[in-house]
Symmetry: C2
């Protein structure tokens, strides 16, 4: 018994609009329709959507998922590249963690820079104004500025809600 889009949304934990969006983006095939033009999904659609959501949870972007789906549909070559994809994501995640940990030490330095309750000469503002965030940031290879650069890749592999 086929599902309407709302039921599929409930089962997959994503929103109705997101399902339609995946269809528009070519990740889900155009489903059958009722006489009233309502979308009808079958078991293979349910599985495909779950696959997509799992991939998103693993930080993959839609282009990568499209590739994986194409391979699933027509596994013509070796899957070695999938290993590489996963390795790449692990490396990405490690880089993000390192950057965030560094960022955290910076923020903690900031936190102790001001006692609060001041109308002027707030130590935090001073620090944001003049201080280099920490000694390591004096040189070119500050992890915090690396963090900036890393976010492009990061942005592309983001899951929201």
């Amino acid at each position: 018994m086929p599902l309407k889009i709302g039921e599929l949304a409930k089962r997959s934990g994503c929103q109705v609009v997101t399902i339609r969006y995946y269809e528009k983006e070519g990740l889900l095939p155009p489903p059958e329709r009722t006489d009233a033009n309502y979308r009808l999904y079958n078991d293979s659609d349910v599985e495909r959507l779950h696959f997509i959501r799992r991939c998103r949870l693993h930080g993959m972007n839609l282009a990568e998922i499209r590739e994986l789906l194409a391979f699933k549909d027509h596994p013509t070559v070796s899957c070695a590249w999938i290993n590489e994809l996963v390795e790449k994501h692990i490396a990405d995640v490690e880089r993000q963690i390192a950057s965030l940990q560094h960022l955290k030490t910076h923020l903690e330095t900031l936190r102790h820079a001001c006692s609060g309750d001041r109308q002027q000469d707030c130590g935090i503002l001073d620090s944001l104004d003049h201080g280099s965030p920490c000694a390591c940031c004096e040189d070119e290879h500050c992890a915090l500025s690396e963090y900036q650069k890393s976010t492009d890749a990061e942005k592309k592999a983001r899951v929201s809600r």
Copy 2:
């Protein structure tokens, strides 16, 4: 001696278009102009832009930076809320780190799921198809799905390049 926009970009490490964007967004005041309508920046603009970039590096979004700048320009109230802002960012960053570390364990499980070199029955694809990513994700409070939710806030405080 005032700077043209390209020189300011070099000094601040951000791009020309980004500077114009900050002006459009009201973070930088409209600068003076040459007869040829080129923007001219003075020392206080340089400082202000550095302040903005440092804040961005600390993961603050443009709305927060606008608030900080307004306070810097007219420090009429206590700066206690700045401490709160920093605390909030630390908590955010901690949440992001936890989510990413969890994501990493998931990806590492995936990595060992397939030896590669297969045309069919790739273990990684199987795992993405059917497996729940890890035992902890069987219940409702999986950190990985928390990761999904956290990214809204995260997205708002992102620095790219």
